[in-house]
Symmetry: C2
DNA sequence: AGGTTACTTCGCCACATGGCAAACCAACAT
DNA sequence: ATGTTGGTTTGCCATGTGGCGAAGTAACCT
């Protein structure tokens, strides 16, 4: 199965869970201890801890223990990497569309004009 | 288990697989048939088809069959949604950092100055 | 010391996912 | 009509995930 995990693999996988996204959202507004994170969600501590481990492995959050509490903080680099990937491919798609449009406009300049064609998409 | 799938759930889950990301990357540069997509990856057709189904369910790609070939195309809206989520939380984190910095600067204005404190992070 | 708090680990279960091979179906092509 | 091509379905298997409760450990409080 999908071994040889790329960083993005783990990052996106971590973000695929609503609980984990909520944790990230919470941490984006400040650090928090494990039990503080547990409160809003109706799930047990062991489960939450598992989520935190997943987030840690993905590089999205970092944790450190001081005394008996473990504080969790967001590490935005992984988030940025994921965002960058998405951005790159969105713009790739858009620029392709632009080229296509230009090409169609060019063709239409030489042939008859049918306004409806401009927005029609064959899929 | 994670039932009641939010759109982002499926989108991020779909992007968590390298094969699927490669497919998205490929499609961001133009539509393609199933078999054309299969080529670069050393995996069987059934497996690839499963990937495509996952991508379809996630709203990242749309497919349509004409004759015996199925053409796949990217649907950038889901990508944009995911990007927006990431962007929102990255900026949230950054603005928190800014507030914190401002606060520290303020404190330091009133007390003695220790330059090393500015970049120190307690985690 | 003894209790409380805050995690942590340890099974355990149900289910989704990624992979394959093999058989199958529907269009073209000849 | 028959073969070939392109996709599709159908098992099957191994692994990972999300959830739980129960028991364990390591601070901290009194």
């Amino acid at each position: 199965m999908a071994n040889q995990h790329h960083g993005l693999d783990r990052a996106f996988a971590a973000l695929a869970d609503p609980t984990r996204r909520a944790i990230v959202a919470r941490l984006s507004r400040g650090e928090a201890a494990v039990s503080a994170l547990a409160e809003p969600f109706a799930i047990g501590l062991p489960t939450l801890l598992k989520h935190i481990r997943v987030l840690e492995r993905s590089g999205l959050v970092a944790t450190a223990k001081s005394g008996r509490v473990r504080r969790c903080a967001l590490v935005p680099d992984a988030l940025r990497e994921a965002e960058a990937w998405l951005g790159a491919h969105i713009t790739a798609w858009e620029s392709r569309l632009d080229r296509l449009e230009a090409h169609l406009a060019d063709k239409e300049r030489k042939a008859g004009h049918d306004p409806a064609r401009d927005t029609r998409c064959d899929l």
